[in-house]
């Protein structure tokens, strides 16, 4: 196994993010850094604030306090600011960033896909938003990406609603990754799938993350998913981070009592 490079640049710098809907509802004073090429898992029980945190990070919901700083490589920024404060830049730039450099994979593929148009149009949408206007090329990249996510390219003209749940999730992943985003947010990408489909999807995700050098923030309540994909873990409870560390370290030697409870409550067949 390749040893991790320790000097990876920081891609996302999260400082004191607070978004509360009520006392202990939401997330409070979250700090962390995400390095380039890293997969960060956020785990915790339902209602612990993981999804709220993800929504704030992904630019969908403004925080009550705190900053989300996105650091681009100087050569990527193309003369623009190398550091962007997600909620200080204008809405136009934020939406452009979400569309072009970031990606979001929803738990329910129906939230992330356009169910009324074909699989090919779904994959091509982000490319068309970037200004690609060549039908042949759009179609070719649609087919290439369907192959990447292990879907039959022959079904490029079928509507997503004729796909199974696992296939829809693959399609959503293809649709998100087609513009080669640097940073991807995933909200329970394997939720609602049966275990064998889940295993294949995870396997594919792991390959893609490695091949494309993606940085991922992954929200899940499933510790097995976290162990497979995440390099580092953030354990959340009642809106606060109670423990952070390398995945294996946290899962094998949990320090905080809540993490211990979480790890010990995993069912093993």
């Amino acid at each position: 196994m390749k040893k991790p490079v320790l000097e990876r640049p920081v891609l996302l710098d999260v400082q004191g993010i607070t978004r509360l809907y009520g006392p202990a509802k939401g997330c409070e004073a979250i700090d962390f850094q995400l390095h380039a090429g890293e997969v960060l898992g956020i785990v915790g029980e339902s209602g612990s604030g993981k999804s709220t945190l993800l929504r704030v990070l992904a630019g969908l919901e403004a925080p009550d306090a705190g900053q989300v700083l996105y650091r681009r490589q100087a050569d990527d920024a193309g003369g623009e600011d190398a550091e962007l404060d997600l909620y200080a830049i204008g809405e136009a730039r934020r939406r452009a960033l979400l569309r072009l450099e970031w990606g979001l994979v929803h738990q329910n593929p129906r939230d992330g896909l356009r169910m009324g148009v074909s699989a090919g149009a779904n994959i091509g949408e982000r490319l068309m938003a970037q200004g690609q206007r060549h039908y042949g090329q759009l179609r070719a990249s649609g087919q290439a990406w369907m192959r990447q996510v292990e879907l039959d390219p022959g079904r490029i003209d079928d509507a997503p609603r004729t796909f199974s749940g696992g296939m829809q999730q693959r399609l959503q992943i293809a649709r998100t990754l087609v513009t080669r985003p640097r940073l991807v947010f995933m909200d329970e990408p394997t939720g609602g799938l049966d275990v064998s489909v889940q295993a294949r999807l995870l396997d594919m995700l792991r390959t893609l993350v490695r091949q494309l050098g993606l940085s991922v923030v992954l929200v899940t309540h499933d510790l097995a998913v976290a162990r497979l994909l995440a390099h580092r873990l953030l354990v959340m409870r009642r809106g606060q981070v109670v423990e952070t560390g390398l995945t294996d370290q946290i899962l094998d030697d949990p320090q905080h009592e809540y993490t211990q409870l979480l790890v010990s409550s995993v069912l093993t067949p």
Partner: protein, 277 residues
């Protein structure tokens, strides 16, 4: 006619609509909300167009009303009669003689001249509506020029039919900025929008939106590099006037399968026949 203000609407309403029209002309293709009034006709019959016509009509203007290109169909006749009664303006069927032309579904074949105003009746003003049901979101998309989804529809057409199958209400980009629905005109008429010397106003009564294309404005139809924009063609010429370059309607003549192709623009067809005869 007693009991009515000139051209039916009261002066305050006309002033409000004219103000909105000025804004629409200043921002080509941008949908301006206006306080649409109830008109003595059902929505879908051209209430938006009628309100616009009522607010711009002057006592010495000559009005022409067409419906699907024809001057003698129900919608055209009733709106023409309406303005004859409530404004007492002169009406015509000749495109060249008209100052204001209210239209549903067509742009006249005879080229328009500077100084003429074409008023369109629009059912659904929002070109993004088919893919985004939220008004808040579509306005934001217009504001931020997020028009990628327009091509999703065209892509879908090609994937399904092998060519762009949208034949009417074909989306256009006005002056390089706003994507606009040119009302349900056939895409045959889209090239006539580009650089037209006449002022073109669009009114949607139910949705209470109006927008405009000022004279000599650049209007491009959206397309793909390898599937460029094309207009409809016919293998026939008009059975009445012999025109081979106008938009043709297929008319069923009997129940034995008999049919003929004729110009949808009745005034154009008649004037051509007059010249030939």
């Amino acid at each position: 006619m007693n009991g009515y203000n000139f051209a039916y609407l009261d002066e305050q309403t006309k002033r409000m609509i004219r103000r909105a029209l000025l804004k629409a002309v200043a921002i080509p293709g941008y949908q301006v909300p206006f306080g649409g009034r109830e008109m003595p006709m059902p929505y879908g019959w051209g209430t938006g167009g009628v309100q616009l016509t009522a607010s711009i009509l002057g006592a010495d203007d000559i009005l022409k009303v067409i419906d699907q290109g024809a001057d003698d169909t129900t919608n055209a006749v009733s709106i023409r009669h309406f303005f004859q009664r409530v404004a007492g303006v002169e009406t015509t069927t000749a495109t060249t003689a008209a100052d204001v032309i209210q239209t549903r579904h067509r742009i006249p074949e005879t080229p328009l001249r500077a100084g003429q105003i074409l008023v369109f009746q629009v059912p659904i003003p929002e070109p993004l509506r088919f893919i985004e049901p939220s008004e808040q979101e579509t306005r934001l998309m217009h504001a931020l020029e997020e028009y990628g989804v327009m091509h999703v529809k065209l892509y879908e057409d090609i994937a399904r039919y092998g060519h762009i199958a949208t034949t009417y209400a074909y989306p256009v980009k006005v002056d390089g900025r706003y994507v606009m629905d040119p009302s349900p005109i056939p895409k045959f008429d889209n090239p006539k929008l580009d650089g037209n010397p006449a002022l073109m106003l669009f009114g949607a009564g139910r949705e209470k939106r109006l927008y405009a294309i000022p004279p000599y404005t650049r209007v491009e139809s959206l397309d793909f590099e390898d599937h460029p924009f094309e207009v409809q063609r016919w293998e026939h010429a008009c059975a009445l006037c012999g025109s081979d370059h106008s938009y043709l309607d297929e008319v069923i003549t009997d129940d034995q399968g008999g049919r003929m192709f004729v110009c949808s623009d009745t005034d154009y067809c008649q004037s051509r026949r007059g010249e030939v005869a």
